[in-house]
């Protein structure tokens, strides 16, 4: 079986791990009924009633799918 010849240094390990980063999502800021909401661009949005329960997905004024 092939085995590593040398111990992987801490520096190499940390260099590799430092490249694993989270991406910041590009959000669109909209104001609905005086409330600021953030949403993904070109994606359907969840429509909620006044109590906050999700009703359905909507995109450009058109009901797209159920939640």
């Amino acid at each position: 079986m092939a085995v590593p010849k040398r111990k992987k240094s801490r520096s190499n390990t940390h260099s590799r791990r430092s490249q694993w980063k989270a991406q910041v999502p590009n959000l669109v800021k909209t104001v609905e009924n005086g409330k600021v909401t953030y949403s993904l661009p070109h994606h359907a949005k969840v429509v909620e009633d006044s109590a906050g329960t999700p009703l359905f997905l909507e995109y450009k004024g058109r009901k797209v799918a159920d939640v």
Binding site: L40, H42, H43, A44, L57, Y59, V64, A65
Partner: protein, 214 residues
């Protein structure tokens, strides 16, 4: 003509991809709206629209070609006799893909692909198109004028600053006298000034000449 897809096939191979896309198209024609992954929806769209084009042609040859893809005669009947008349006025764009976020299990981006069965609403672009170019031209002209003014102002400011950096009497002359006499004054001071300062005044006179040209 659909653009050939880049990258690997869906599924295990070319035959698997063909079958999956054909089955997806059949499901779309039976249900009018299906939820699938974004990739599959995008790959299936050209095939589905091509099949609808065949359905709009409506003859036996077209029907046999569609039956080569979708083997279910019930679905093909639905496509030719129910869907095709509804999209008769539409010149392409028979499907609509809407992204609905990621799937819970494997975080795959999902989309809803549906047939666009609403009657075609003609776009009232003609008046807007005639208006918009004129408005654009007007805006362009205004912008160009503003830019030109800004450039002239900056050049004038630069020449003034350079003149001030030179000898004091010369700068006073540059500020007080009009631009035409400025060059003459600069040359006169150049003769009187020393050799080191002569280069500076020379540059200044060139700048003044540019200002005259404008």
């Amino acid at each position: 003509m659909p653009k050939p897809t880049k990258g690997p096939r869906l599924g295990g191979g070319p035959a698997h991809e063909r079958l999956m896309l054909a089955n997806l198209a059949a499901a779309l024609f039976t249900h009018k709206r299906i939820t699938t992954t974004e990739t599959k929806a995008k790959r299936m769209r050209p095939l589905a629209e091509r099949l609808i084009t065949f359905a709009k042609r409506g003859d036996l040859h077209a029907r046999r070609r569609v039956l080569g893809v979708i083997s279910d005669k019930g679905v093909v009947y639905e496509l030719f006799d129910v869907i095709a008349p509804q999209v008769a006025d539409r010149q392409g764009g028979y499907t609509r893909i809407t992204k609905i976020g990621n799937r819970k299990g494997d975080n795959a981006p999902m989309a809803v692909i549906e047939l666009v069965l609403e009657p075609v609403t003609p776009k009232r672009k003609a008046p807007a198109a005639t208006k918009s170019p004129a408005a654009k031209e007007a805006e362009k002209a205004a912008k160009a004028a503003a830019e030109a003014e800004a450039v002239e102002q900056t050049t004038a400011d630069e020449t003034a600053v350079e003149a001030e950096s030179n000898d004091a009497p010369q700068s006073e002359a540059a500020e007080s006298e009009p631009a035409e006499s400025e060059a003459v004054e600069a040359e006169a001071t150049e003769e009187a000034a020393e050799a080191v300062e002569a280069t500076d005044t020379d540059d200044e006179s060139i700048d003044a000449g540019e200002d005259d040209a404008k």
